[in-house]
């Protein structure tokens, strides 16, 4: 009896649709990846407001102050009590002055925790004012507007 010769057939699936889809998924996630949210900090739970809409134009090089519930300000990986913020704010004001820009025109974004004491926010604002800052932006989380 004649022995059948073994056929060398390799069954290869068509990879093209899978690769197409994978690249589309990569493109989707790449576009959605938001690097601009670097100023957000998970330790801060912002108060919510239905009027808090993102600004049309981003503020130019703002000074962002993150105030925790315990009353500390998070600056460059460090936690500084509000009472000791003067030195840091003075340095920031000096840097702005060296760039030939008025300190009064610089914006200070205050990202304060919803549970923090209002007095601490006011103290922080006062410390900024002492260094010449005048423009403040109190940041809040956008809340879906309630149905009328």
């Amino acid at each position: 009896m004649a022995k059948r010769k073994k056929l060398d057939i390799s069954a290869e699936g068509d990879m093209t649709p899978m690769i197409d889809m994978t690249f589309q998924l990569i493109a989707f996630f790449m576009v959605l990846l938001n690097f601009a949210e670097g100023d957000q900090d998970a330790r801060i739970k912002l108060p919510s407001s239905e009027l808090a809409k993102p600004p049309d134009a981003a503020l130019e090089a703002p000074l962002i102050l993150q105030l925790t519930e315990q009353g500390n300000v998070l600056v460059i990986g460090d936690s500084v009590p509000v009472a000791d913020m003067s030195r840091y704010l003075r340095t920031e004001a000096e840097l702005i002055k060296r760039q030939q820009k008025p300190v009064a025109e610089a914006s200070v974004i205050i990202r304060a925790d919803r549970g923090t004491k209002t007095g601490l926010v006011q103290e922080l604002i006062k410390k900024c004012q002492e260094q010449g800052f005048e423009k403040f932006a109190l940041r809040a989380r956008q809340e879906r507007s309630r149905s009328p």
Partner: protein, 165 residues
């Protein structure tokens, strides 16, 4: 010289090695999927506050600010809202009172644009209550979902020295 048979025949299919590419592509995909975070939109309430609360001669013609007093209980929860002499039960009422006072007209010469609110809050009051008060003062969302702006000029009463713990 020996000529290679396969090169001469021309029938051989040159197959690209897909495995490394697919490996990398899946790694990229995993990276982007894992770093994907639904970012919550954030917005700002802009407050312009010079140090000496510049109530100088140039502001004489302006209306006196509406005084808003927010009191807190010992736990820091809101215990009272007072607009001038008037006591209000909730921020909704505050919003209604502001509308009643300045109307819904907007524009640079409107009453709302010229009016300023001075917020005097207790030291221990939770900050979220202040933001709620600012929301009630600054505007509201109408039935069509548009934001109607009211008073945008805000200032805080400086913290009193005796307030801090």
């Amino acid at each position: 010289m020996k000529i290679r048979k396969s090169a001469a025949s021309g029938n051989d299919k040159v197959e690209m090695q897909m495995t490394p590419m697919i490996d990398i592509v899946f790694q990229l995909l995993t990276f982007f999927v894992m770093s994907f975070k639904i970012a919550v939109q954030e917005g700002d309430f802009n407050v312009k506050m010079p140090l000496a609360a510049a109530s100088s001669a140039e502001t004489i013609e302006e209306l006196p600010p509406i005084k808003l007093r927010l009191t807190a209980n010992e736990k820091g929860q809101l215990s009272g809202i007072h607009m001038g002499e008037r006591s209000l039960p909730s921020f909704k009422e505050l919003n209604a009172a502001i509308i009643e006072l300045v109307g819904t007209d907007s524009g640079p010469s409107s009453l709302a644009a010229q009016t300023e609110v001075e917020i005097d809050a207790d030291y221990d009051l939770r900050y979220e209550n202040v933001v709620e008060a600012i929301t009630a003062i600054s505007g509201y969302v109408d039935k069509t979902g548009h934001i109607v702006k009211l008073i945008e000029k805000l200032k805080f009463v400086p913290p009193k020295p005796g307030d801090s713990p």
